[in-house]
Amino acid sequence: MNEWMQQHPASIGGLVLWAIGLLWLMPSGKPGKSRPGLPGIILAAAGVLAFCLGAGRGIDTLQSEVMFWTFALTALLCAALMITSKNPVYGALWFALATLGTCGLFMLQSAPFLAAATIIVYAGAVIVTFLFVIMLAQQSGAAGYDRRAQLVVPAVLSSFVLLGVVVQQLQTNPLKVERPGIVAAEKQSTTKGSATSPPPLPSPDAPIPPPPPVIPAMLSKATPETPVGSMKGLGRSLFGDYLFAVELAGTILLVASIGAIAIAPRREEGAL
């Protein structure tokens, strides 16, 4: 823990700055003494910047660096502004911007289809429905309960302690993962020199090799023809390995729409 604090001062400083900015921005509900938002936004932005810098820097193209910083700052800062906005309409709009930032990060993680689907579902359907409900229920703008948050200090402190522990674990115990793509490429490059001669034929007396083990979720593996995030590969995974789950998801959508219609107030029960 102490070593981590000494090795990653940017992470811990970023977390502290970010938490202070959030505490500053939270609506306190004191009438007539509304705090200016700009210092809180600057504090939170500096905290987010230092937090992301804590991951370390590598050698990468300037283009992808700029895109990552833009999208990460957009997502995290707009999320902070969403949970601290006094007006729920502005909260929903900040959430839409945070969704756009997240979709940009999806693109950087080679998930273009998912980014498009998330934008369509969230910005096109969810946000519009939320705005309808807000405008139906709160026609007079922000109410008293929007101007005053509850349990601000305990919630922010405990959540940032959780975030700090997660980041500390990520940075001090780096996960070791198997990288099939890289290893396969390395093997190919190492065996390329001696691969000119064909492999010797197995002698007829040799025992029959055991069949390869059946690996579950076989169709989800990325291959050179279907790299990660390609429509073909994603479709093979969804409609091959997870066909039953897709059917279940469709059933859940049907049940949810029936339930929403059943729960929603009826016209004969009176308007809102």
């Binding site: 729920p88 998330t118 409900v133 919630a155 990520l170 290893v183 990325a222 729409s257 929403a260």
Partner: protein, 160 residues
């Protein structure tokens, strides 16, 4: 069979941003009092989870992370629709979106939460509003004065 390599910094910072999104959603869920903002904060937490799943899929070079994220998207859409109809049903009873008005649903041995602010209604208007009525049986009772503006087509229901 294949060697294990640690995460590179791109994957690391993507996971960190995902954790940050999740924690911001959790803070919003714990601190805000507007029912709609609570649901939006839950959606923000789902964004963090989706970003983590996509990054894991990239790390392990398979499509499962993105397939799971599509299921997360489906469930999030269902959740948003159901939550909004529930919010509307709750709004019909209190004419407010304050979560504290529903503190009557707490466990019986937890203390009453402190109502610090004076604005807005302090509790539910009546504990007996909106309770479903039994089907009428036997003789129709004499109409009480409070039902003068009842719906004439539904004499068995008191106005809500």
């Amino acid at each position: 069979m294949s060697e294990m390599t640690p995460l590179n910094y791109e994957e690391l910072r993507s996971l960190m941003v995902a954790a940050g999104l999740f924690v911001l959603g959790a803070i919003g869920f714990l601190t805000r009092r507007n029912l709609i903002l609570l649901v939006l904060s839950a959606e923000l937490m789902l964004h963090g989870v989706s970003l983590s799943l996509v990054t894991f899929g990239k790390i392990h070079q398979n499509q499962e992370g993105q397939a799971f994220t599509i299921f997360v998207l489906t469930v999030a859409a269902c959740e948003a629709g159901l939550a909004l109809s529930l919010v509307l049903a709750l709004y019909r009873q209190t004419h407010s979106l304050d979560i504290r008005l529903w503190s009557e649903l707490r466990e019986f041995d937890t203390p009453v939460p402190v109502m610090a602010d004076a604005d807005g209604p302090q509790s539910l208007p009546s504990a007996y509003d909106g309770i479903p009525l039994l089907t009428p049986a036997g003789r129709q009772p004499r109409e009480l004065p409070r039902t003068v503006n009842a719906d004439p087509k539904r004499p068995d229901r008191t106005p809500v």
